[in-house]
Symmetry: C2
Subunit: 311 residues, 2 copies
Amino acid sequence: MSARPSGEGVLIALDWGTTNVRAALLDRNGRVLDERRGESGVGVFSSEEFAQNFDKLTAGWPPVPAIAAGMVGSRQGWREANYLACPVSTERLSQSLIGFDHGSHRITIVPGLTYSDADIHDVMRGEETQIAGLLAEQPDFSGIAVLPGTHSKWVRIAKGTVKRFRTYMTGEMFEALSQHTILRHSMNDAGGEWNDAAFEGAASEIFAGGSGWGRFFSIRAGHLLSGGETAYHCERLSGYLIASEFAAARRDGFDDQSIVIIGTGQLVSRYEAAATLLGLQSNTHRGTDLVWPALFNLAGRAGLVGSNVHE
Amino acid sequence: MSARPSGEGVLIALDWGTTNVRAALLDRNGRVLDERRGESGVGVFSSEEFAQNFDKLTAGWPPVPAIAAGMVGSRQGWREANYLACPVSTERLSQSLIGFDHGSHRITIVPGLTYSDADIHDVMRGEETQIAGLLAEQPDFSGIAVLPGTHSKWVRIAKGTVKRFRTYMTGEMFEALSQHTILRHSMNDAGGEWNDAAFEGAASEIFAGGSGWGRFFSIRAGHLLSGGETAYHCERLSGYLIASEFAAARRDGFDDQSIVIIGTGQLVSRYEAAATLLGLQSNTHRGTDLVWPALFNLAGRAGLVGSNVHE
């Protein structure tokens, strides 16, 4: 089919989140030929403005199909891609892409996922693509993937199918508690160096059975009574919160002896440290590295880049 | 000693918190002859301004001793009254008041309490006086007192002595989560009517072993997927938080089959409902009603109002 030589762009991939968009031009082997960044516009742009933003971002690139993941598919995005209810396999995800034409481009958007049981409702948008990236590498993966962040996701996968997932608002709780409660008087703004001992000490208290709930105020009281550096108190709060997430996730049935962590940076180091304290094995993948292979794989399955993908 | 007739003021009592101050003129039997309110000044006033505020608040009252509880005794208050370390009996509390002269008034301030163990530090200031009020009524009380609020306190009391206590930042967590996270899009500003069913449904999920941590985001996702009124989502958050406080407190050793709740208003109704759901017996005292008897009792023990108190 495709007689295009390697080196020529065949697919535009877009990682289109709430605040930023990354775009890549990929060749027939999924290699990145060019990569750019722009502003997201989610929640702000009209449909026309999204189109203009896309044109600006991809100026000079060939008129090839584009595939996008993330908040661009939300109600406040370019075009809404309805959530798929779990369980969802990569196959089903690739069959549920929504598409529309924009100029000479066919635009395709990856839907988010939803999970509900009697009590719980949950949604993700963007993370499903990082998971698809993991599954592009390990199609029969079974286990738990953890995606730390503002809204951390714990995801149960069985033989390549996302069975269920749960969101813990740990990152946002940290922001809210450290900036909008009495704890702000004991926190540093800068973030500072990671204090392993403070983090691990706090996390260990939780893993020994203590309640995080009954320890947040202790940070303030300890500061009041004994002083100490704000960076130290900041790390304790982080330790209490991340350990509380682990403890809750295990209670919520994400209780294997090993986890795959998908993410980047210092936050991942903390999740690795928490896993180690709990005696769990963890294996980390850089989340951003998974997105282009995932989108290339999904585009191939959906026939957007020709049969060469499956050669 | 005191030949003063009933009807004549013998003590000025002050409930001096962070935002307001209440003042009462009490007779020799502890009855309220007059009551006034003013601004607190804690964290804002200089020592002189506190003195002026006191004069304004008590203008026309006789030059009798005054006793004050609350944040007025903090470092940002009129005069610092150092924390007493638990265990603390009413006797010890009454022996640890700090005093100074202001014009023709002897001013006495009740110290706050502190509790520390290996991991935990905690402080209270003001609540110790409400507890002293409970103990003025029931000097040999043993059990758990719960004081709901911005910083809820669970207090272990044995034969009239405060053994230990723990603060849960539940009220402040509610504010932070409902105003400064993604949940704000699903909350109403007004507060609205108390929705018992939503509150109790959410609390029951926690008492059945679910994690609150893994349910906060579910409020947002549920709203996104199924709509519903913001008042309903607001009550669910309240249910998750208050039930998480109960669950944590029980884990932290406050696990009796009955509790005494000290507080007022709708918040107390929620704590009563949570206790009932857990099968606990609860007995409620209006917190504000306990302060004047407590201060009158402490003043009597400290000899500020003459021996008539012990007659």
